[in-house]
């Protein structure tokens, strides 16, 4: 294929995908719309994680905590009917950005290893913390909120509306991250990942960019958490264990680190691998994820997205 044909093929593929994504909620039953909305939610969270792990070479084992923070901020606001629900998205994002920044400052002045430790302990701390402030968070019972309904003019059912909300958030997030990575900031992050010393010599302020990447990544996780709360209509401490954080990382690794399509594949993984394999054995999701992480790091460090890209190149 010539470069021009490739470009056409890409456009055609993109249009088909977009049409499928837009038509899906009218084709599938509400159960599947619900499942696909969650895939989109996880894809947004993984997009954030990818910004951190894939593009700036840091590692977080606590992204589930930011996801939970976003979900809880949304749930608490909606439970008390403080603001109309679209506003919760902004609140969740801003809150997670601030918290991510605060944790990033001490952790990122050092190597990635310490960020892994700090984030892991944040994830472990979160559950008892949520249970402690029961008057606000509903304790271990959690909070049940009314899911947002579709505005009357759309004529959509609730599940279809929520799917489109998730889709819109995902599309905007992907567009933002894509633009970010093509900007000066994105190039700085890639430089940091490839060689910290060289990047610093070129005038990239390491600590600043690493902390910023962490804060953005936390923000995306929080935004995903907000949409999660809309879609599920329920939050409880047990939905956000350390397992969630580790599953997110696993999904991203399998989907593909450092690529734009990796988080989408990862979203499907995070959503469907546990629910499908859970039927076989309670331990099966862990065994599958654990093995996949190790095998993928051995044979295909760029994950599923990288494999597909490699296949396309061979076909050429």
């Amino acid at each position: 294929m010539t470069a021009r044909q490739v470009r056409w093929a890409r456009w055609a593929g993109g249009i088909v995908l977009a049409a499928a994504a837009l038509y899906a909620p009218f084709y599938f039953v509400p159960f599947w719309n619900f499942e696909f909305s969650l895939v989109l939610v996880y894809a947004v969270a993984l997009l954030g994680l990818n910004l951190l792990v894939g593009y700036s070479g840091q590692i977080s084992l606590g992204h589930g905590a930011f996801f939970a923070l976003g979900a809880y901020a949304t749930a608490v606001l909606m439970f008390r009917h403080v603001v109309p629900y679209p506003v919760t998205l902004v609140v969740a994002g801003v809150l997670c950005f601030a918290v991510g920044f605060a944790f990033g400052v001490p952790a990122l002045r050092l190597r990635g290893l310490y960020l892994a430790l700090v984030t892991l302990s944040v994830a472990l701390f979160l559950q008892p913390f949520l249970k402690r402030f029961g008057s606000l968070t509903g304790g271990s019972m959690g909070l049940t909120i009314t899911k947002p309904d579709a505005p009357a003019w759309t004529g959509l059912a609730q599940d279809q509306w929520l799917y489109f909300c998730a889709l819109a958030v995902a599309v905007v997030s992907f567009w933002l991250v894509r633009s970010l990575m093509r900007s000066r900031v994105g190039r700085a992050l890639l430089a940091v990942r490839e060689n910290e010393t060289a990047a610093e010599v070129m005038g990239v302020r390491l600590a600043f960019y690493k902390t910023l990447a962490f804060a953005w990544s936390a923000m995306l996780a929080g935004v995903a958490g907000a949409v999660y709360a809309w879609v599920i209509g329920f939050v409880s401490p047990d939905s956000f264990t350390v397992v969630l954080s580790i599953t997110l990382l696993a999904g991203l690794v399998v989907g593909g680190l450092g690529s734009m399509s990796g988080p989408v594949f990862g979203g499907f993984f995070v959503m469907f691998v546990p629910s499908v394999s859970q039927d076989v054995n309670e331990a099966a999701p862990g065994i599958i994820f654990g093995l996949l992480i190790i095998v993928v790091m051995f044979v295909a460090p760029t994950g599923l997205a990288g494999l597909l890209r490699r296949l396309a190149r061979i076909r050429k």
């Binding site: 990635g112 310490y114 913390f129 580790i246 331990a283 994820f289």
Partner: protein, 293 residues
């Protein structure tokens, strides 16, 4: 005052457990420069092996050395099969592989032994030594004793044997060590074996206090991280002292700071890690890494 001292003693007991897992972390860190996130899960798995042995009729004091031997072999095997292929890869890759190991070992334990909690026999007698009103539980004393012995043995191994000399050479500079004829690969495997053994010991010590279940060590792991960060990852003595300080700090915070209580105690290691990273990143006894850019 007596109550305060009692809390300190209790804290030292749990601190010794954190110290033993932190020693395992520090061992691997010294040789390979990576932190093994799966250390706690490996320890948990070893504890299940001990439980299985005791459960099938073996006496505890026979099951203990058997478990330690199996753990040692298991640790070496893991280094060979899982870590060796990514040796020299970027830190991120190695850390992700240990996360994979973490998930896998955790699930494997659940697969073999189910996720239900199990009782683990306490090797130490139940009573306590009364010194001026402060109760020194035999369990606490036993744990402190075991950790002291392990530390002493490791010290002897490092400082007074040929293998130890090789290990110090590898942790100092693997390339020079290899050029001087040290079998670096074997030493690294040995380091993982030793770490798995130390971890197994901490798992067996902690199991009677917590309950044995696949997620038993994830909390302990965080305390061990705090201990190693506080003491300095490259100083074994520092790590043990760090562990004791973390144990005491956690117990005292739980007992005397009303806001913390027993449920938010798990925040203590988080605060310790953050404060150490801000004020003295190399830890109390660690040496700061100096890099030539």
């Amino acid at each position: 005052m007596v109550n305060f001292l009692q809390q300190v003693v209790q804290g030292l007991g749990s601190g010794a457990i954190y110290a033993s897992l932190a020693l395992a972390l520090a061992l691997i860190y010294r040789f390979t420069g990576i932190v093994n996130l799966a250390q706690g899960e490996m320890a948990m798995f070893s504890t299940y092996i001990a439980w299985q042995l005791v459960h099938s009729g073996m006496s505890f004091w026979l099951a203990l050395p058997t478990t330690l031997l199996i753990s040692f072999a298991g640790g070496m095997l893991i280094e060979r099969i899982i870590i060796r292929p990514v040796e020299g890869a970027p830190e991120l890759t190695v850390v992700i592989v240990t996360v994979g190991l973490f998930v896998f070992v955790n699930a494997a334990a659940g697969f073999f032994w189910s996720f239900l909690i199990k009782d683990f026999p306490n090797p130490f007698p139940g009573g306590a030594l009364n010194l001026g009103g402060v109760q020194f539980g035999y369990g606490t004393l036993g744990i402190l004793g075991v950790v002291a012995v392990v530390m002493g043995l490791l010290y002897l191994l490092f400082q007074h044997t040929k293998i130890g000399l090789g290990m110090r050479a590898v942790s100092g500079d693997p390339v020079s060590a290899r050029l001087s004829g040290v079998r670096v690969g074997r030493i690294l495997a040995l380091g993982w074996g030793l770490a798995a053994t130390a971890g197994a010991l901490s798992g067996i010590l902690v199991a009677p206090l917590l309950f044995l279940e696949p997620n038993m060590m994830s909390g302990v792991l965080i305390y061990a991280f705090a201990a190693a960060t506080l003491g300095g990852f490259d100083s074994p003595v520092g790590v043990v002292i760090g562990g004791l300080i973390v144990g005491v700090a956690e117990t005292l915070a739980g007992a005397y700071i009303g806001f913390v209580g027993s449920d938010l105690k798990v925040g203590v290691p988080l605060v310790i890690i953050l404060v150490v990273l801000l004020l003295r990143p190399q830890g109390l006894f660690g040496r700061p890494t100096v890099e030539r850019a």
